[in-house]
């Protein structure tokens, strides 16, 4: 399957589907997902273009909107016959999950959104945190950091789909992919606007917000919480955009309390 889906945890348990954000791959869940394996059937995957996904399946047209990524989430659920899913989306995958939820109402029993942002670019009185030129700067940043990428490297990384552990020798591909794909995903992510979709979501949702997140500031987390009809907001003491890496225990506790309630 092109999404490099991994299934672990308790057979027959409720499904917990983890979706990683822009930048890296499903290894982002390495410190969090295992904590749920005793009680849940844990499913992780790589978005097409990331990690061990099939880069050859990357279709610029399909992935020119977040809906394309949401369709992949639905396809994974369909192929694995997943129901009553607890969806856990980090960063841009929060909105990808939201779009999947709207396309297939009832598929998700609950949603956990970690560091969500319905729009990254400021718009009138709405503060997303970024100006359009900041996104151009990000694309430039990607370009200058992918200088080491050569087409000769691609097959090595593509062949690296089965990585049980992140050892020293394979970490070169963590957070690295074809620069064209990285650019396109960055553009789709940071120019997306899903503010209007928030109100349509009726699934019980937990918003996890870090105290000092430069990508999804506290005000944005509050905005998401305020506009989702059935949501709770938990402020983490962790700072940064990736509490799943920097504060796994706190993240696990918050998710556990929500899913077991």
């Amino acid at each position: 399957m092109r999404n490099n889906v991994k299934v672990s945890g308790r057979a027959g348990g409720q499904v917990m589907l983890f979706a990683h954000g822009f930048g890296c791959d499903q290894n982002m869940w390495r410190f969090v997902a295992p904590a749920f394996e005793d009680d849940f059937r844990v499913v992780t995957f790589d978005h097409v273009g990331a990690g061990g996904s099939d880069l050859a399946s990357y279709d610029p047209q399909r992935y020119s909107t977040l809906q394309g990524y949401a369709d992949d989430v639905l396809e994974i659920c369909r192929k694995l016959d997943l129901r009553d899913v607890v969806f856990v989306g980090h960063s841009v995958s929060a909105m990808i999950g939201l779009l999947a939820d709207l396309a297939a109402p009832g598929l998700f029993a609950k949603q956990v959104l970690i560091g969500p942002s319905p729009r990254y670019i400021n718009d009138g009185t709405y503060v997303g945190g970024f100006e359009p030129e900041d996104i151009d700067e990000l694309l430039e940043s990607l370009d200058s950091n992918y200088l080491g990428w050569s087409s000769a490297m691609a097959p090595v990384i593509m062949g690296n789909s089965d990585r049980p552990e992140l050892g020293a020798e394979l970490t070169d591909s963590f957070c690295r992919t074809d620069p064209e794909i990285a650019r396109a995903f960055a553009r789709v992510t940071f120019t997306s606007d899903n503010r209007a979709d928030l109100a349509k979501v009726s699934t019980p949702t937990l918003v996890l917000q870090c105290t000092d997140d430069v990508i999804a500031p506290v005000a944005v987390g509050r905005y998401v919480h305020d506009h989702l009809p059935d949501s709770s907001l938990v402020m983490l003491t962790a700072s940064g955009h990736c509490p799943n890496l920097s504060a796994p225990a706190e993240t696990i506790d918050a998710i556990a309390e929500f899913v077991r309630s």
């Binding site: 290894n27 700067e137 940043s141 957070c175 430069v214």
Partner: protein, 409 residues
């Protein structure tokens, strides 16, 4: 002259002068230490000099990520920080530090995550290298690469367009004869190939079929391909024998200002009462395979000279009759010389493939090209062109149209 003793003394003096504190503060790179979540706890003088901040501006006040451009912050949070956390180190990260006066300083960063004995992250140590000139050079490289990619895409599009003009856009439908053709350029098709074919009508029940291979590839080969194709069409109007046509083509290519030459299999097909009479001449080209029910495929035709090499070329005509169920397969050497390692696809494999796919003209061309491609893992080293001609097995239902195409001679 400096004595060895004096040199030693100077060396030790310099060493004493470079105590650890100075080594840190005045190192030729910036140093920063932060907590695992990025708060700056220690910074060296070099970094402060480069950026114009005071120690009080930074230590205990700012996070490392605050010093980056907004775009750089996203990169930091989505790539740098996760990699550092998972791998323990990151190297050669290109970012821009915003100096105290707003100036942007392009830097390269190496960072290492320090852990306590239990493995918990306790500190991040960052070495900062001024990369202003390098970044400008890299930008130039990047621009050059982008220009090269645009040019390459254009060249490929041009090659594809040109290629399409060298083979018929669609094969004409010939009553009472199945005709099928396949053309597969070498590699990714980014270059114009040298193989060509053509099928055109002279009169009622009177057709010419040509298949050829110009030596080489690219624009210069395309010139000869076009020359051969259009010259044959012109000659066919007044010359009837394929061998005579090849003589004239040979003269035309020799007169043309090119080093290139080609091979051609040239056929004239005339419909007779119940079947077709084929006259063929070969100009340095592999013999087509004659496929008849109950017989193994056999090569057919008299060899002749390469076209465009010799003034005194010799070409001979061969003739045969194609009855119901008979087929001829014309091919270029890209088929038999398809390679896997040191092994060629070869004539034996070709004959087996032909026998396996002999059902119709289309199954012949499609089946053979599929076998040749599979043999080469889908990436042919040379152009492949195939034309199959086959007289349908059963009586053709359209008797009316058959009468219209009564034999001419």
């Amino acid at each position: 002259m400096v004595s060895r003793e004096a040199a030693n003394e100077a060396f030790y003096r310099a060493l004493l002068d470079d105590d650890p504190e100075k080594l840190y503060e005045q190192a030729p790179c910036g140093y920063l230490s932060t907590t695992p979540d990025g708060s700056i706890v220690k910074v060296n003088t070099t970094f402060l000099t480069w950026t114009g901040y005071s120690r009080e501006d930074l230590v205990g006040v700012r996070s490392f990520v605050d010093l980056l451009t907004p775009g750089g912050r996203i990169y930091h949070e989505t790539h740098y920080a996760p990699m550092l956390r998972m791998q323990g180190t990151v190297r050669e990260i290109a970012l821009e530090i915003v100096a105290s006066d707003g100036r942007r300083l392009p830097v390269l960063l190496n960072a290492a995550l320090g852990r306590d004995p239990d493995g918990n992250p306790v500190a991040v140590r960052v070495a900062v290298f001024d990369a202003s000139e390098r970044r400008e050079y890299e930008r130039e490289l990047l621009r050059t690469k982008q220009r090269a990619e645009v040019s390459e895409a254009r060249a490929t599009a041009l090659a594809r367009t040109l290629q399409q003009t060298l083979i018929p856009p669609a094969l004409p439908a010939i009553p009472d004869l199945e005709v099928a053709a396949v053309y597969r350029p070498a590699g990714t098709g980014a270059e114009v190939g040298g193989d060509f074919y053509d099928v055109f009508q002279i009169g009622t029940g009177d057709w010419v079929v040509a298949l050829g291979d110009v030596c080489g590839k690219g624009a210069e080969a395309a010139v000869v391909t076009a020359l051969a194709r259009y010259t044959l069409r012109a000659i066919a109007v007044r010359v009837s024998d394929p061998s005579q046509m090849l003589h004239e083509l040979n003269d035309a290519v020799l007169r043309h200002d090119t080093e290139r030459y080609c091979t051609v299999a040239l056929l004239r097909l005339r419909q007779s009462n119940d079947g077709w009479t084929v006259t063929m001449s070969l100009g340095g080209h592999p013999s087509p395979l004659l496929v008849r029910a109950g017989h193994p495929p056999t090569g057919w035709g008299e060899p002749g000279s390469l076209v465009g090499v010799f003034e005194s070329a010799t070409y001979a005509d061969s003739a045969l009759r194609l009855d119901h169920g008979d087929a001829l397969l014309l091919y270029t050497d890209g088929v038999t010389e398809g390679r896997r390692g040191n092994e060629f696809f070869g004539e034996d494999r070709l004959r087996l493939s032909v026998t396996a796919h002999a059902g119709s003209a289309t199954s012949l061309t499609d089946g053979v090209v599929a076998d040749v491609l599979e043999f080469q893992n889908g990436m042919p080293r040379d152009d492949i062109a195939l034309v199959a001609l086959r007289v349908p097995t059963a009586a053709v239902p359209l008797t009316a149209s058959r009468e219209r195409y009564s034999p001419t001679s």
